[in-house]
Symmetry: C2
Subunit: 298 residues, 2 copies
Amino acid sequence: MAERIGFIGLGLMGKPMARNLLAAGYPLTVHSRSAPPVDELVAEGAARASTPAEVAAASDVTITMLPDTPDVESVLFGDDGVSEGAAAGSLVVDMSTIDPIATRAFADRLGSGRVGMLDAPVSGGEVGAVAGTLSIMVGGLDDAFERARPLLEAMGSTIVHVGASGAGQVTKTCNQLVVGSAVEAVAEALVLAAQAGVDPARVREALLGGFAGSKVLELHGQRMLDGAFEPGFRASLMAKDGRIVVAAAERLGAPIPAFRAVAERLEAMLPAGRGDLDYAALVTLLEDEAGRTLRAEP
Amino acid sequence: MAERIGFIGLGLMGKPMARNLLAAGYPLTVHSRSAPPVDELVAEGAARASTPAEVAAASDVTITMLPDTPDVESVLFGDDGVSEGAAAGSLVVDMSTIDPIATRAFADRLGSGRVGMLDAPVSGGEVGAVAGTLSIMVGGLDDAFERARPLLEAMGSTIVHVGASGAGQVTKTCNQLVVGSAVEAVAEALVLAAQAGVDPARVREALLGGFAGSKVLELHGQRMLDGAFEPGFRASLMAKDGRIVVAAAERLGAPIPAFRAVAERLEAMLPAGRGDLDYAALVTLLEDEAGRTLRAEP
């Protein structure tokens, strides 16, 4: 019989992920801070729960998809939290992007109540969440991973069990470091081309064929050229992920001399009032400084 | 009848590029500062010239592939330089990576003697030079580009005419900005993973499937894991290219806040005695700072 799934956090990412579980035939109980996405999924066949504890009590596997580390901590261990409702032998799968060291502590606390935990953050954005093609990076024990694998396969197309508890979040931290650096670099390159009087669209095209080729150049490069900054993935969340990278690097003694500059640019999006734009809008900071945009005047 | 080609600068890149022109059936005259690669190509059917002026006098199209801007200036305009030997109506194709603004000045000076010029720097490394699969970014006039296209096709597989004189070098500048930033970011990510006790090889694998996927992660990431730092492309040359990026950005008023940090790391390779390693060895600076290597102990 299919395991009963709980899903907490029906945001831009969580809602389509939960919907894919429903479409795959899993019995689903949902909870979220805002009512409309809950109503939507209930209309599609999910059950409603009024607290995280209720979700966990009704579920064999409880999935969390939340903005940041403190949100996950309070949903798991706060009043009416998951840990109050979860039965021994049940499993928590946290798919949020949070601090990799806090993750290990959460797994230990759940484990003392004989509740298993996987950290399973994702890459691929809202597009991947809707299409069920997320890349999912998993940390935790082998048997918990094998148990969760069919669920993860309903949400993602690349699922890698990287290592023990925390390894998924460490991998996501590395992912955000690489992706954030790449977006800033592509933005700097395209603005430099425009300042030199060379068509940035032609530059993107020429670079795609060589060593500079990347998914970021392809997708975010095109967003920058088009000024298409509806998220996607919000700059405010990427700034939060940047803080996770910097904090983890400091505690681990890992040097990140270039990413520090990228993290500063991500932070600068917030006072500029651009936190709700896609993080490809990092290019707008450079455009402001250069006094031009990448888009040809009409 | 096939145009007569001259080739000046038979280094790590230039020698296999010249060889591919010979293999394509072009009559070839060569010159280089060091004798052995000249001897090699002469044994394979090329003619020898003792100065750049002699090369140009014997050629319809003269190609230069040299380390830096001053080298190109002296080969073109110094004593016994190309401009002394080149006939009106002939063409110079500079495939070196040099300053994009200096390039335009060189094209103007050659043009006053009715000698055409293309800037046509390449990406793809020694591997691409040998295989004839370079990515070639070209700036200059349409008719000069059409004239040179068959030659370029003997050396590369992606040939993009980006724009007017200088546009090729601007594109290469953008390329080095993006590639240099990506190599440093991948290095920072892999060392962070190792410091967190997570297998960096698994992290690379997990990241390749998502938004972080890139040629740099694939190729240079593997080099870092293997400690395989024989060039490839020397860190000293990448540091030189970093200087070109910084200088161009300053003159153009193009902000490059994150690349500045990358350029500093490239410069740090030289006093560390690592200028002759591939620039993937940027990771060794981080390994030193973290007090570990990415390679598992035997």
